[in-house]
């Protein structure tokens, strides 16, 4: 294969690859969970939870939110990529990965929808 052929092949396949990645990104539905169902088996897995903010605190780099639904409570860590207007009893949906901190599970937010 000469350089020109390789150029065409890599260009065509990178275009196909980008389209495929977009397809995956916008058609991947993260499963929504009740908070009570989340346990250590979910560590490092990405989950989606919906609930209301029971309380929250703010540090220079992140928000710590206590999120509750009808089944339980979980601490959500939201890194401050932007300032959020949070308040108690606000309905939010958080997608993120489950981690263990001080023997309790927490969700590290990748996306928060207010």
């Amino acid at each position: 294969m000469n350089e020109r052929d390789l150029l065409m092949v890599s260009l065509i396949f990178s275009l196909i690859g980008i389209l495929l990645l977009f397809h995956i990104t916008y058609n991947t539905e993260i499963e929504r969970h009740d908070i009570i169902t989340l346990n250590k088996d979910y560590i490092d897995k990405t989950v989606r939870v919906r609930g209301v903010i029971e309380s929250f605190s703010e540090t220079p780099g992140l928000y710590l939110i206590t999120l509750k639904d009808n089944t339980g409570k979980i601490t959500a860590v939201v890194f401050k990529d932007e300032e959020l207007r949070l308040r108690e009893n606000l309905d939010v949906e958080i997608t993120g990965s489950i981690v263990e901190y001080n023997n309790k599970i927490e969700i590290i937010s990748k996306q928060i929808v207010i």
Partner: protein, 400 residues
Amino acid sequence: MLFEILIAISAGVLAGIFTGLFPGVHINLVAILVLSSSAFLLRYFSPLSLALFIVAMSITHTFLDSIPSIFLGAPDAGMELSVLPGHKLLLEGRGYEAVFLTVVGSFFSVITCLSLTPLLIFLMKYGYPLVEPYIAYILIFFSVLLIYRETKSRFWASIAYLLSGVFGIAVLTMPNLEQPLFPMLSGLFGISILTVSLMKKTKIPTQRITYPKLSIKEVLSYLGLGFFASLLVGTMPGLGSSQAAIISSSIKKKNKPENFLIMIGSINTIVMIVSFVALYSIDKARNGSVVIISQILEEFSLGHMVLFLAVSLIVAGMAAFMALKFSRIFSKFMDKANYNILCICVILFIIILVILITGLLGLLVLIVSSLLGITFSLIGIGKNHLMGCLLLPVILFFLL
């Protein structure tokens, strides 16, 4: 207490050497490990020692991360643009000199930052609120400037920027991909260069221990550029060394690889130090390790900042020594190794790491990013246009 602090700093330097030399092992990963083990660690160490461990690791990392980028073509975030000039010097038998130049940049950036700390605090307190609303337009301006300065083909430069930008949006918005930057940057700036080297049957000449002839005027001008760009983006959310590298590289029309390496070396270190100063002056944590420091310490005073800067200076001396030592080892290793086999091994190593860290989805990202990188390597335009993968998503984030 002093003994404890010394242990923390030494451990931090060792951790920084590890994260710096191994592509894909990010300082945030170690910092998160420290935080999640803090219930245990705080029985033996004070919060300040844990924070100083992270400071020492972060600064050391910025001195050593150029080594895998230059010798192996496996860059860390923020070092993507060092691959090509670093590789160029490696092909002239001057790999050690390339690392030396990034170390010069890193070391003098620490001294510059320390001597300009009062100015930094002032600029962040009063300049940051003025610049923040316009950061998207500033990034658009520098992106256009970058494309305009492409000498070979502005058309292909625009295509590279837009295509990599669209690719970056797809990858960075993927909901279930851990550490998306690793496969994306490794493919665009690592595997693609190694593959083209393999295709062209590149031979690495005997590596010599040489030192550059530096003009103080040029060094100062590139350090100044690095300082300006790092300060501009170092205080903004979602921005970092990569964006600073693009801004600074778009300003100068022709960058000699030697000067460019000094600038790239300085940027990572300045961004890290700026983030310590930002935590004190505007109470904002702008990167992962500083977020963790802010959680461990809870309160960050002027005394903390002064201590952090002093530790940064001490660590800079140690890290510079270690970086040059390891660079000598890598130079000797390159002489003995068959470069083609080494390229294949590094490609396989990156593939395995990507699968382990990011799974099969990450592997798909790596394949597409490698193909994209190969495409524009063969077209022959500057690889810096592929930084659209980070710039376009950030611009849209600020605009929308």
